[in-house]
């Protein structure tokens, strides 16, 4: 008797302990009470590549939202006489003092007597320390927060810091990449949102009602899928007037991407609805007299929302690449507005590329972004699958 009393006390003690230390709850107990979305989140966090992708993307999005603060210059600012300046090297080891805080040397341009080309010579006489939160000319962060500091810099006009070099109009490529990211990184969300609306609406109608409507919509989807996408983008972009503002063009591009890209989603939604609408829980709802709208939104949607999320995540990189391709071809975002595609336009010229290879750096940003989205999509797919053993 005494023993069982002890064990009961122990159980109560454990129970109280669990209430006060929520995080240290027994793993199984936590899983028992977790909602479906929490379960997905637990599994997602275990997927190393996906978690890595999420971190990298968070950094990318954060820096481009706050590009005004992180980037040392603006995307149109011509910095003195630094045309095609190579990336600034950041040194840690001083020739006199050995290891010290990061610093840069200043450049000066000199004419090469043999090739008659201007070359940048590093002037090693002065070391300019790199400072965090360096003072700058007053500007407005995000258009309304007055600021007088930038994230980093030397604070000296004679020693500019071009992390990724400058272009033919002596603009800082690093700043242009961050600011261009505002267009390239967010075009995916806009496009996916629009194609989500079109796709889930048409796919939903098609899958839930079936019959003739289904037949018509599915033929249309097949048709759109059988036409090459890129020529269609190119053709539609002819309808965008050249004198539109950057914002207008941006929305037009998003629309074009969505109009061509909703088909895959419509198919996913249709397939899922087709299989779910005959499940017993849907039948029960129908027998209880629920309206079609209520059955779809209340009973069917939660059952396949995770598939939708996975599909949307995997659709974003396609949209980003679409914008980049269009802008690269000169049909998307028009200068002086900047996106990763317009940045790569400068890299189209082989002679420029050979002499100033840092024009290829935006490529890395595009690839990394697309890769990370793919990682996250894969992670989500594994996490959303309730039958996965992981």
């Amino acid at each position: 008797m005494a023993e069982s009393k002890d064990s009961i006390l122990k159980k109560i003690g454990n129970y109280i302990k669990n209430i006060f230390s929520k995080n240290k709850k027994d793993k199984y107990e936590r899983l028992e009470y977790a909602s479906q979305s929490q379960l997905i989140w637990y599994r997602f966090k275990k997927h190393k590549l996906a978690a890595f992708g999420l971190t990298v993307l968070a950094i990318l999005y954060f820096t481009s939202i706050f590009a005004g603060f992180v980037a040392p210059y603006t995307h149109v600012e011509r910095i003195g006489d630094y045309k095609y300046a190579p990336p600034t090297e950041i040194h840690m080891i001083s020739e006199e003092n050995g290891l010290r805080t990061p610093f840069v040397y200043s450049y000066s341009k000199e004419l090469d007597p043999e090739t008659f080309q201007y070359e940048y010579v590093i002037d090693k006489s002065t070391e300019y320390s790199l400072k965090l939160f360096v003072e700058s000319e007053p500007y407005k962060l995000l258009g309304f927060i007055p600021m007088e500091h930038k994230l980093f810099g030397t604070g000296d006009k004679d020693a500019p810091v071009f992390l990724f070099g400058t272009d033919n109009l002596s603009r800082d490529i690093f700043s242009r990449i961050l600011i261009g990211g505002r267009v390239s990184l967010f075009v995916g969300f806009g496009g996916v949102f629009l194609s989500f609306i079109i796709g889930s609406l048409l796919g939903g109608i098609s899958g839930y009602f079936g019959g003739v409507i289904d037949e018509i919509i599915m033929r249309a989807v097949e048709l759109l899928m059988s036409i090459p996408k890129i020529p269609l983008w190119i053709a539609f972009s002819a309808a965008v007037p050249r004198d539109w503002t950057a914002v207008q063009t941006y929305f037009a591009i998003t629309m074009i991407l969505a109009l061509v890209g909703w088909t895959g989603l419509a198919r996913v939604v249709r397939g899922k609805l087709m299989s779910l609408k005959n499940e017993q829980f849907a039948m029960a709802a129908r027998a209880a007299g629920a309206s079609d709208f209520r059955i779809i939104t209340k009973h069917l949607l939660p059952a396949f929302i995770s598939y939708l999320v996975v599909h949307l995540t995997l659709a974003i990189p396609g949209m980003i690449l679409g914008e980049t391709t269009l802008s690269f071809l000169g049909l998307g975002i028009q200068p002086p507005a900047v996106s990763w595609g317009t940045l790569l336009q400068d890299a189209q010229d082989l002679t420029v590329l050979a002499d100033y290879p840092w024009h290829l750096i935006p490529t890395a940003f595009v690839i990394v972004t697309v890769l990370m989205f793919n990682f996250i999509g894969d992670g989500l797919r594994d996490a959303a699958d309730p039958y996965s053993s992981k």
Partner: protein, 328 residues
């Protein structure tokens, strides 16, 4: 089999009609009619437009009539006289420009598909047979990169590395001395020398997908009992794999051509622009930029029709290879 082919052909017809409607919408997209743009273009170059010429154009293409009649005129001219309208930038009939450049587009696309298969099939077999080996991981890794890398970027990067390491600038399909030469063995060799970069670039994106598909089906197949049985009976491993599971796994691969083709044609458009190849891609781009819409619409029409026909051919091929499809 004949029945199947006939049915597939019947499906193609409405598809082609809708494609022609979409292409016509493309022709009509920019503000202002063809004649207005034409006159504007002439004036920009300092010419006075000829009234008779304008009238002739308007009656020829039914330009002052409602859009649907214009569409039927356009279709009628195209089907019965092979006239797809005129390009005022090239001052040539659209059909001539397309006839001049389409063969190269078709050839490059076909060769790209061929290259994809040559690369993807052995790699797919190996990474399925040796699942979770280092080789498999490397292939998966490069597959990811291949999927993430847009065609034109890959073209840029490859072009840069070739130029830096060999000093050889890849522009066009032929070296200067062969551009206007007639076809000869030397010219074909020269073309192959220049063509490999665009081919590799166009083929890469799809190859990753092909390898994934083949690896997936083959893995499913390898787990099946007939494989175990054959192994137990002492069949040679190489013969066992190549003769049965691979044969089964090839079928879904053929059906991927249908959705691979649009990607290849689209990729070809962009890559040709970057590498300055004489195919339909750069012309399409130029025509959209100068609002030379009969040309743009014509090219969209041809590219899409070719893609659809290619898909049809791949369907027929699949039916020929896979009896399950034929008798469904």
């Amino acid at each position: 089999m004949g029945n199947y082919i006939l049915r597939r052909f019947l499906v193609i017809v409405p598809l082609l009609i809708v494609i022609s409607v979409i292409s016509f919408i493309v022709v009509q997209l920019p503000p202002g009619s063809y004649v207005e743009t034409y006159i504007q273009n002439l004036k920009n170059q300092g010419y006075q437009p000829d009234e008779n010429e304008i009238e002739r154009l308007e009656s020829r293409y039914g330009l002052n009539q409602p859009a649907y009649i214009q569409y039927f005129t356009w279709m009628k001219n195209m089907i019965f006289e092979g006239d797809m309208g005129r390009s005022f930038v090239y001052k040539q009939p659209v059909s001539e420009i397309i006839a001049e450049r389409a063969p190269m587009t078709i050839m490059i696309s076909l060769m790209a598909i061929l290259l994809q298969w040559i690369v993807a099939v052995p790699i797919g077999i190996f990474s399925a047979r040796y699942q979770y080996s280092i080789f498999d991981y490397i292939v998966t890794f490069f597959g990811f990169i291949g999927l993430a890398l847009p065609n034109f970027l890959f073209a840029l990067v490859l072009m840069y590395f070739v130029y830096v390491h060999t000093g050889w600038a890849v522009v066009g399909i032929f070296s200067p001395e062969f551009v206007d030469a007639s076809w000869s063995f030397a010219r074909v060799l020269d073309m192959l020398k220049n063509l490999w970069i665009p081919l590799v670039v166009i083929a890469t994106a799809g190859t990753a997908g092909l390898i994934r598909t083949l690896r997936g089906t083959l893995l499913d197949e390898l787990k099946k009992q007939y494989v175990t049985t054959a192994r137990a009976k002492g069949m040679k491993e190489r013969k066992l794999i190549l003769k049965y599971p691979v044969r089964v796994a090839i079928n879904p691969l053929i059906s991927t051509i249908g959705w691979m083709l649009p990607a290849i044609v689209g990729g070809e458009v962009v890559v040709s622009q970057v590498l300055n190849l004489k195919t339909l891609g750069p012309v399409l781009l130029g025509s959209v930029q100068s609002e030379d819409m009969y040309l743009a619409g014509g090219i969209i029409m041809i590219l899409s029709s070719l893609t659809v026909i290619g898909t049809l051919l791949s369907d027929i091929l699949l039916a020929w290879v896979d009896p399950k499809v034929r008798y469904k």
